[in-house]
Amino acid sequence: MQPSPSSAQTPPRANLAGWLYVSPLVLVLVPFFVAPILVVLAASFFATDGFGGLTPDFTLASYIDVLHSALTLKLYLATIKFTALTWVFTLIIGFFVAYFLVFHVRNQLLAIGLFLLCTVPFWTSNIIRMISWIPLLGKEGLINQALLALGVIRQPLEVLLFSDLAVVIAYVHQLTIFMIVPIFNSMARIDKKLIEAAIDAGASRFDIMRLIVVPMSKSGIALGTIFVVSIVMGDFFVVKVMSGGGSASVVSAFYEDVGVLQYPTAAASAVLLTLVLVAIVSLILRTVDIRQEITR
């Protein structure tokens, strides 16, 4: 994409052509993204008969319900806990995997091959990848069997599966790729001469990391963070399955609400969650111009 003069100076013809090209995209996004969001927003103000019927109304009852419930705070705390833990682990693993591929693998073809090796599971089913932890983490799973055989534990550990630990493991397993790709991308753009110059000037390994690599990978980290945070906060099936029903998050509670046809409460909770998400994402976007990054 070419840097171009501000859109105020673009001739009307270019505007028309631009809109023509993106019109199919807009024609999909308006009915299937904008309209559904507005419907959910509207539903959050509606009254309900308790059986799934909605009466057009303007009541804040659902919001008051949601905000007054002690459960809401608990759900948000649980969601934030899962998000924070997943973010920390995916960031650490993702950063160093990308660093290894960019700076330590000398053969370019090998680096691409290893990168693809990391990305292939992304194109397979998330649900299957999640349940694939069951034979490993279960009470009679491989890890417990191994620990028992080694004599480390006398009784099988029950916290491995159907626990918060299992939820975080499943998230990290699924989402690290969303950190690796953008960080890899921004690291690959760092001119290697810069690092050699730093070495020549006497910089230590730590200095190079702190002063060159981390600052220059910031945009990749920001992009990865947006992906990881929005996916974890919007997820419900990992929490539902991997916690064995023991934990809940904002969206899994939303799912339960929808299941019992409590649409307005569910909608109000969804609107609140979306607001929180928008706040977080725009905070991240303030540190990086995502469009510049992607299209550069």
Partner: protein
């Protein structure tokens, strides 16, 4: 993922991207630490998946955990013949059809949007952020909104209408982002050369752009197919009465506790691997053909 696929042609050739480890000569100790980390990551990435593939080949005594009990294809037969595991065959069929439709639309719309975003036009930022919004919005919430919208309009939700649209709201942003990465490597000069030689706009798109960008378009198709084929959260409230495959898997995770679940995981992953292999293979093939044409 997007970037590396787009990168494949370039990164092999130019010298600026030649991998240079921070220090030449002997490997620094960090190499070994990070290589270990990387290997552990890859093992953790693939290990659990391979466990369920292996476990799906047990015989009738088989359970959900190791050790293996016998070897047979019992659970695969069970999967497609038993009624209690649900309509696997039908949902499999629907998912493939839906994924093909989504792929075609995603490639066409993303390509056009990619063309449109090359030049700035009035309102382009708005469209861009609408797309990002569609990407990060919680899938379940969007799905519910779409479902309610169809209900309010008196339309029946089905996999080829509401679920199709809901999935496009997920695959299109990915497709366009991949297109960005692909387009940023397209040199304007080629297009202008085509015009200078008397090509019409359509000819320059068909003969120059589509030909040059073919590997990128294959990558977009790969995203479209796999993201649709494995899509779950947005389809849940929009697929209507007939399930797609991920919805079938979801209901199985809740009530089936036999290796048929693993067998289904193996089958769906084989399909994913075939699609991934075919896509990456055709990208490599296109590149090779090009390389030989230039040399020959």
């Amino acid at each position: 993922m997007s970037a590396v696929l787009a990168d494949m042609p370039d990164s092999v050739a130019p010298e600026t991207t030649k991998a240079i480890a921070p220090s030449k000569g002997g490997r620094p100790w960090t190499f070994y630490v990070l290589a270990t980390l990387f290997s552990l990551y890859v093992i953790a990435l693939y290990g659990p998946m391979f466990c369920i593939y292996i476990l799906s080949f047990q015989d009738i005594r088989g359970g959900l955990v190791f050790p293996m009990k016998g070897h047979s294809l019992h659970w695969f037969v069970d999967l497609f013949t038993q009624v209690r595991t649900g309509d696997v065959k039908g949902s499999f069929d629907r998912s493939i059809k839906l994924a093909v439709i989504v792929t075609i639309i995603t490639v066409a719309v993303s390509f056009l949007a990619g063309l449109g975003f090359r030049k700035r036009f009035c309102g382009d930022t708005f469209v861009f952020y609408m797309m990002i919004g569609s990407l990060v919005a919680p899938g379940l919430v969007l799905g519910l909104g779409t479902g309610l919208l169809f209900q309010a309009l008196g339309l029946n939700a089905s996999w080829y209408t509401s679920a199709l649209g809901a999935q496009l709201s997920w695959t299109l942003p990915f497709g366009v982002l991949v297109m960005f990465a692909v387009m940023s490597r397209f040199d304007h000069v080629w297009e202008e050369a085509a015009y200078d030689l008397g090509a019409s706009r359509w000819q320059s798109i068909r003969l120059v752009m589509i030909t040059v960008l073919a590997p990128g378009l294959v990558a977009v198709a790969l995203f479209g197919f796999t993201l649709s084929y494995d899509e779950f959260a947005r389809s849940l409230q929009t697929a209507g009465s007939l399930n797609t495959l991920p919805l079938e898997i979801w209901s199985m995770t809740l009530n089936v506790t036999s290796p048929s679940l693993y067998a289904l995981g193996t089958v769906t992953t084989i399909v994913s691997f075939i699609v991934i292999g075919a896509s990456l293979g055709s990208i490599v093939l296109i590149q090779k053909k090009r390389g030989s044409r230039v040399r020959g």
